[in-house]
């Protein structure tokens, strides 16, 4: 009997768990360690942040689902990996501590044959002074943050209704933050809500971003077919913002936030400030901060993890210039090079390098987005890793034949721009592949037939459909496995 331990129950970890249990059946143990009792469908946090969905519509308790599947669940936070065991333990193990109220802080030791690290990002608010729900800005990165953002936004709406002018700033809160898509979605939803309440004329909206050009989205931008032209996502994004009366500040690295004042550096090296009444800024992401120790207790964290805390996998981490970036640098199996039974999926794996062109200002501050890893690649990497581990356990096949590289895989990002079944809208953006392949597609870096940028009601329906489909899938309802990642 083999034991597979999955760290994290987000999109990547939960998908891996579902497929592991489906393939391995009762003969083998699948154990999940995750600090929250809930699964959350993060993309719909945007709608929680504008009051269109309640928290319980975007999350559900994991315990019941895992019980039904026969998965062992520990509500705990992983702290360290011991891939060679220790002096008293032959097998590799993970050390964690319970987060469940009645056991909080109690240590937990779980041995494993295979480990899937799907711990996602640490929301690194501390990297920017004054950023985040404990500082002066809001966030929508977790459902609790989104609820808090909605409360603050309602106060802004009240002030606007009373005739007060308000400044709303949305974007990235660190010079190297990623996940621009989520912030972009939020600003469009806020603009829509203002319009619905006829308050747009009193509110001033700003898009504050570390992108060199709008529409970069941490993936070097893209080209889309639009109205008979091939257009860059710069034009696409600017057009959407201009239509919604949003001003923008680009090439800006936020360094510090005070009450009502954002301090940022520009790529030109200037130090500037922006006032705000409400701000939602995405923090930088880091790895979950797991440690690793060898048999004798020596710290081997740097063997398993990159300096940013994400886990090393089968990527090419040798330093390269933008011109040397190649899709072959991107991982395909998500296997740790040092320990063949350890994998990292979703946001938890260390990317080889950025996708956007690295930019540094005269003061030495790097201002550009790090690579995004959206829901689709997170789910896909979780699934193929589960399939590879199952093949290894069941057939002794360690060839890892299921492969998925961000240089080959596409992604769809449906940016909601207003929640209403007939008046709602969304910008549907698809890119294929995620990492541009300039050798295969010398003109545009991607397959222009599958790179779409389109705004309309259909996008809103798709976004809503995806919400219900993915919750259905995550709950393991009938035929869940037919729903693609």
């Amino acid at each position: 009997m083999a034991t597979v331990v999955v760290l994290g129950a987000g999109i990547a970890g939960h998908t891996a768990t579902a497929f592991l249990k489906k393939e391995l059946g009762k003969e083998h143990d699948v154990i999940v360690i995750s600090p929250s009792p809930y699964y959350q469908w993060i993309p719909s946090n945007i709608w929680v942040g504008v009051g269109r969905m309640k928290v319980d519509q975007v999350r559900f308790p994991l315990e019941k689902v895992y019980k039904k599947w026969g998965v062992i669940f520990h509500q705990a936070k992983a702290l360290s990996i011991h891939p060679n065991g220790d002096e008293n333990t032959v097998k590799p193990f993970v050390m964690a501590e319970y987060t469940k109220e009645d056991k909080a802080g109690v240590p937990l030791k779980v041995e494993f044959d295979f480990l899937v690290n799907a711990t996602g990002p640490k929301l690194n608010f501390e990297a920017t002074e004054g950023l985040g729900p404990n500082g002066f800005t809001s966030s929508v990165c977790a459902y609790s943050h989104a609820t808090d953002a909605w409360e603050k936004l309602q106060q802004v709406f009240k002030k606007l209704e009373n005739g007060e002018k308000q400044k709303i700033v949305i974007g990235t809160g660190h010079p190297m933050a990623t996940c621009q898509g989520a912030a972009f979605e939020y600003i469009l939803n806020v603009a829509y809500e203002l319009k619905q309440r006829k308050l747009s004329d009193k509110a001033e909206l700003f898009w504050l971003t570390n992108e060199y050009e709008l529409g970069d989205f941490g993936m070097s931008g893209a080209y889309v077919r639009r109205n008979g032209y091939i257009t860059s996502t710069k034009i696409f994004a600017e057009s959407v913002l201009a239509e919604n009366n949003v001003k923008w500040i680009k090439r800006a690295g936020v360094k510090k936030v005070e009450d009502g004042l954002i301090h940022y550096e520009t790529l030109a090296g200037e130090y500037k400030t922006q006032e705000f009444d409400f701000a939602m800024l995405i923090p930088s992401f880091a790895g979950a901060g797991l440690k690793a120790y060898d048999k004798l207790g020596e710290d081997i964290t740097s063997v398993l993890f990159a300096p940013n805390g994400f886990m090393k996998v089968d990527a090419d981490y040798s330093p390269k210039t933008y011109e040397e970036f190649n899709i072959k640098d991107w991982p395909e199996t998500y296997q740790n090079p040092g320990y063949k039974n350890i994998f990292a999926v979703g946001i938890a794996f260390a990317p080889p390098h950025p996708i956007s062109k690295p930019q540094t200002n005269p003061n030495g501050t790097s201002i550009f987005p790090t690579p995004p890893r959206t829901g689709m690649p997170s789910g896909v990497t979780g699934k193929i890793t589960a399939q590879n581990i199952a093949a290894w356990i069941l057939k002794g096949d360690d060839s890892l034949k299921h492969r998925a590289s961000m240089g080959k895989m596409g992604a769809a990002c449906i940016v909601s721009a207003g929640f209403n079944l007939f008046k709602g809208q969304a910008a549907t953006m698809t890119v294929n592949p995620i990492v541009p392949d300039w050798e295969k597609y010398p003109d545009y870096g991607r397959d222009i037939n599958y790179t779409v940028g389109e705004i309309g009601l259909a996008g809103h329906w798709m976004k809503l459909m995806l919400h219900y489909m993915f919750i259905h899938k995550a709950k393991g309802y009938p035929f869940w496995w037919l729903i693609p990642e």
Binding site: D201, H402, A412, A458, W461
Partner: protein, 53 residues
């Protein structure tokens, strides 16, 4: 908070294309959008299906 007296030129926001009435109409036309819904879903499904092996 638009200042109606300032001409809308020489601002970054004044350069990008903005949709005309007809573009806005098609964006919310239920029949056309139903068709686009199927087209876009088809494209997304193809991307997902060919993205990994």
């Amino acid at each position: 908070m638009e200042n109606k007296n300032i001409p809308k030129v020489y601002y970054e926001e004044s350069y990008p294309p903005v949709p005309t009435k007809s573009v806005k109409f098609w964006r919310s036309c239920v029949l056309w959008q139903t068709y686009r819904f199927f087209v876009l879903n088809f494209k997304v499904m193809k991307i997902v299906a060919f993205g990994h092996n």
